[in-house]
C-alpha cells in the first residue's frame, strides 16, 4: 500500500472505506492462502473510545475505526492495519484459550503489578504480530507509530513505552530514536527525577533482551508472555495507566463460556517465570553464575526459582481480569480432581428374571396346590380327576441377560469450620481429594450428596443425591469458617436402619475434616447421638472413609475409635495422588486407577 495517495482530513469517509475494503484480501493473503475471515467492520465514527482497530475472538471479526484512522493520518496504511488485526486471529493470541493463557502468564510475570495485565498482554501480542509482518512481508509497521506520534504531538515518553519502541528499533534495524524520539521521560511520564545514565543503560539492555526474546518466542505467544512482562514490570508505574500510542484492542466481551473450562487444568498456568535475562535462549550471558561477592547472606537454605503453584485465588483473579463470571474455585478443583479420578466401586446388580415355561407334568395329590395349572388341566379334560388329569407347569429360570452394575452412591460430609483452609483462597488438598471421590462417583453413574458443615446450624447441602457436577463442586467449595459440630441428625435421617435393603442402593459415607472429626463420633454432641456414625455406616452398606487434614500420627489415633471407617490423612497437596490410589486399593482392591493408566 505504500505509494497510495493519502486522504486529506475530512475527505469523504466512503473513499477510506473503499480503500480498506480493497486492502482486505491482500491483508488476508499475508497470513496464508487458506485463511478465511468475513469482511471487516469499518466504523465511520468508531465505538466512542480512542481505539484504532480491534478484533473479537468470539466471532472472528476485525473492526476498524475509520475516524481514528483519518485523525492519525493512517489512511494509506490499510494493509498493515488490517493485517495486524488478522494476526491476532492467527498468531497471537489466536484462540480464546490462548488469550486467557497469555493474560495469565503476563500476570505471573508482572508479579505485584497485575493491574497492567491486559495492557501488557496486548503489547506482547502486538509485538509478535508486528515483527512477523515487518520481517516477513516488510510492511511499514513503524509508520503506524511514527504517524500517530506526529498526530498526537510530542508528548513525554514514559519508560515502558520508550522500552517498547526501542525494542522495535532493534528488531527492525531502525536508527536510534526513530520511534523513541529521544530520551525517556521520568517514570510517571511527567514528574520525578530525570532518567540518569545508569537507568538509560538498563533500559537499553532490557530493550535488547526484549528484541531477542521476541525472536526466541516468535511462534509461542503463551511461552514468552511471562518473560516479556517480567522485563517490562519495573518500568511500569504502580498505579493503573492508560494507553500511550495508537491503541489496538481485543474484544473481551466474549470470554465466558466453555473454552475457559479447560483453562484451569492447563499446566502452563503454574509454570515458573523465567526472566529473559536468565534465559540462555535470550541472553548469552545467562547461566554464567554469580560472582562470589554477589552471594546474598544465606543463613537458611534458599529455595529455587518460583515454585509457587497456581491456586484457586490466582485463577479467580484471572477470571476477573477476563471478565468471566465462571466460578474459579469450581473449575480449579474440577481440573485438579480429573487428574486423579479413581474408578468408583460398582455394586453387582441383582438379577431378576421371569421364569420360562419348558413343558407340563402331572400334578399329584400332595403337590402344592399353587403349582396346579388349572387352565391346561381343563383344556386337557373337562372332567378333572386329581392325580390323573391334573397338570402342573415346568418352569426353568431364563438365561441371564447382560445387566448393568449399579454404582455406589457417595454421601460426602465436608468440614468447613475455621480450622479448615478456605478452599476458595487456598489450594486445599482435602478438597481435591473429596472432588476426586465425587467426580469418580459421578463418572460411573453414581449419585452424590454433599453436606458442608461447621458449627451448630451452619450446614449447607446439595438437594439430596444429585448427578449435577457443578452443583456438587459448588457445594464442595463452600466455607463457613465457624465452630465444629458434625450434623449427626442429618446423617441419622439419611441412613435409617435397613435403608440399604429397602432401596437396594448402597451408599459410601465420606467425611472430610481435620481433628474436628471427633464430633462425628459424639464429642461435644448429645449422648444419644454418639453411635449415629457407626449405625449409619452399617445402614449405608457402601463403606466409609474419613479424609483428614492431620498428620499420619493423628490419623492412627482416630482409627482407634472410628470403627469400620477407613482413615486417610492428607497433610500435603502432594499426598493427593497417593490418597486416591490408596482409596481404590484398600476399599475395593483396585491397585492402579484407570485414569492413571490412561494418563501414561
Amino acid at each position: 500500500m505504500r505509494g497510495r495517495p493519502r486522504l486529506r482530513p475530512g475527505e469523504a469517509t466512503d473513499a477510506l472505506r473503499e480503500r480498506f475494503a480493497e486492502a482486505w484480501p491482500q491483508a488476508l493473503a499475508l497470513w496464508g492462502p487458506a485463511l478465511r475471515l468475513h469482511d471487516p467492520d469499518l466504523h465511520p465514527a468508531g465505538r466512542g473510545e480512542p481505539t484504532l482497530a480491534w478484533f473479537s475472538l468470539g466471532d472472528a471479526s476485525v473492526s476498524v475505526d475509520l475516524a481514528e484512522v483519518s485523525r492519525l493520518g493512517l489512511d494509506d496504511l490499510a494493509v498493515p492495519i488490517l493485517a495486524h488485526e488478522i494476526g491476532h486471529h492467527v498468531l497471537a493470541p489466536a484462540t480464546r484459550t490462548d488469550n486467557a493463557l497469555v493474560l495469565a502468564r503476563v500476570r505471573a510475570g508482572l508479579g505485584d503489578r497485575p493491574r497492567h495485565g491486559a495492557m501488557v498482554a496486548n503489547l506482547w501480542c502486538d509485538t509478535l504480530v508486528n515483527d512477523r509482518l515487518r520481517r516477513r512481508h516488510e510492511l511499514p509497521m513503524e509508520q503506524v507509530y511514527l504517524r500517530s506520534a506526529a498526530a498526537g504531538g510530542r508528548r513525554p515518553t514514559p519508560p515502558w513505552w520508550w522500552l517498547w519502541m526501542r525494542t522495535f528499533e532493534l528488531l527492525w534495524a531502525l536508527p536510534t530514536a526513530t520511534l523513541t524520539g529521544g530520551d525517556p521521560a521520568p517514570f510517571d511520564g511527567r514528574h520525578g527525577p530525570p532518567i540518569d545514565d545508569s537507568t538509560r543503560r538498563r533500559l537499553e539492555a532490557d530493550a535488547w533482551l526484549l528484541s531477542r526474546h521476541t525472536r526466541a518466542f516468535a511462534t509461542d505467544p503463551v511461552g514468552g508472555a511471562a518473560g516479556f512482562a517480567a522485563v517490562l514490570r519495573p518500568w511500569l508505574p504502580e498505579q493503573a495507566i492508560g494507553g500511550h500510542g495508537p491503541a489496538c484492542g481485543g474484544d473481551t466481551d466474549d470470554v465466558g463460556g466453555e473454552p475457559l473450562g479447560g483453562l484451569a487444568g492447563d499446566p502452563r498456568l503454574g509454570a515458573p517465570v523465567v526472566p529473559p535475562a536468565l534465559d540462555p535462549r535470550v541472553n548469552p550471558e545467562a547461566g554464567r553464575g554469580l560472582a562470589a561477592d554477589d552471594e546474598p547472606p544465606a543463613e537458611t537454605p534458599l529455595p529455587g526459582p518460583s515454585g509457587q503453584g497456581y491456586g484457586p485465588a490466582e485463577l479467580a483473579g484471572l477470571y476477573a481480569a477476563l471478565g468471566s463470571t465462571r466460578d474459579a474455585a469450581v473449575d480449579y478443583y474440577r481440573a485438579q480432581a480429573r487428574r486423579h479420578q479413581v474408578p468408583f466401586p460398582v455394586q453387582p446388580a441383582q438379577r431378576h428374571t421371569e421364569p420360562e415355561l419348558t413343558g407340563w407334568d402331572g400334578w399329584n395329590v400332595g403337590d402344592p396346590l399353587t403349582d396346579l395349572d388349572w387352565q391346561h388341566t381343563v383344556l386337557r379334560s373337562p372332567v378333572v380327576v386329581p392325580g390323573v388329569t391334573t397338570l402342573r407347569r415346568l418352569d426353568e429360570p431364563a438365561p441371564t441377560p447382560p445387566g448393568r452394575d449399579r454404582p455406589v452412591d457417595l454421601d460426602l460430609y465436608v468440614d468447613c469450620s475455621g480450622s479448615m483452609p478456605n478452599p476458595r483462597t487456598t489450594a486445599s488438598p482435602a478438597t481435591i481429594a473429596a472432588a476426586v471421590l465425587a467426580l469418580s462417583a459421578l463418572r460411573v453413574g453414581g449419585q452424590v450428596q454433599v453436606t458442608v458443615w461447621s458449627g451448630p446450624g451452619q450446614v449447607a447441602r446439595t438437594a439430596g443425591f444429585v448427578r449435577d457436577e457443578d452443583e456438587v463442586l459448588t457445594a464442595l467449595v463452600t466455607h463457613f469458617g465457624g465452630g465444629t459440630s458434625f450434623p449427626l441428625p442429618l446423617l441419622a435421617a439419611d441412613h435409617p436402619p435397613g435403608r440399604a435393603e429397602r432401596t437396594s442402593r448402597r451408599v459410601h459415607i465420606c467425611c472430610l475434616s481435620d481433628s474436628g472429626v471427633e464430633s462425628m463420633f459424639g464429642v461435644g454432641q448429645r449422648d444419644s447421638d454418639s453411635g449415629v456414625a457407626h449405625a449409619a455406616l452399617e445402614s449405608a452398606g457402601g463403606g466409609g472413609s474419613l479424609i483428614l487434614v492431620v498428620p499420619a500420627v493423628w490419623a492412627s489415633h482416630v482409627q482407634d475409635y472410628c470403627g469400620n471407617y477407613v482413615v486417610y490423612p492428607v497433610p500435603e497437596l502432594t499426598d493427593v495422588v497417593p490418597f486416591a490410589r490408596a482409596f481404590a486399593a484398600r476399599t475395593w482392591g483396585v491397585g492402579v486407577t484407570r485414569s492413571a493408566k490412561e494418563s501414561r
Partner: protein, 189 residues
Amino acid sequence: MSTDLTPGPPLVVVVARLRSVPDELADPRLSLPALVADTADRLAPAADPWSEPAPNWQPPSDEVGAQAVAIGCWLVLDPPVTTCLRGSSDPVGRLHAGLAELVTLTADSPPAHWIGADPEREEEAVRALCRGLGVLFDGESEATAADRWAAVSTAARRQALRDAARAEELAQQLAAKAAAEAAARAAYV
C-alpha cells in the same frame, strides 16, 4: 574499525553469502595459511605468486577459530566484496583485521550454531568482519553503521547483559530468602 571506509555491497548480499557457506570449508585438511594467502592474492595480486603470503598473520589454533577464518575468506572472496576492497588502501591488512574480528566474535559461539538459525547473530558476524575490513554497507552512513553495530553487537552489550543476569539472580535469591523468612515468622506466630 578502519578509519578509511570503503563503500561496499548491501548488507543482505553479504548475509546471503554467509548462509551459503560450503561444507568443504569445515574440512580439517584445509590449509588455512594457503586459503588466506589465496584470498589476499585476490585482493592484491602479488608480483611473485610463490612468495610467502601474509608473513605477519598467524592462523588460530582452535577449530572454531579456524572455521571463522575460513568463513571470513569465503565472504571476502565474494566478487562484490573483493571488488570494493581491491581499490582500497592496504587490502591485505584489512583482510587480517577483518578475520581477527570474526575470530574474536565466534570465540564464544561456534558459527555452526547460528548460521541459518539466528539472523541477528548472522548480521553481527557480517558487521564484525566488515568493520575490520573497513567496508561500509551500501545505503548506510558511518553513523548508521555505528548505531546498528551497537544494536547487534553481543560484545558491546556483554557487560550490560551480564549485569542484567546478575541483578536478576540476586533479586530472585533475595526474594526467596525474604519469602523463607516470612514463612518462618508465620510458623511461630
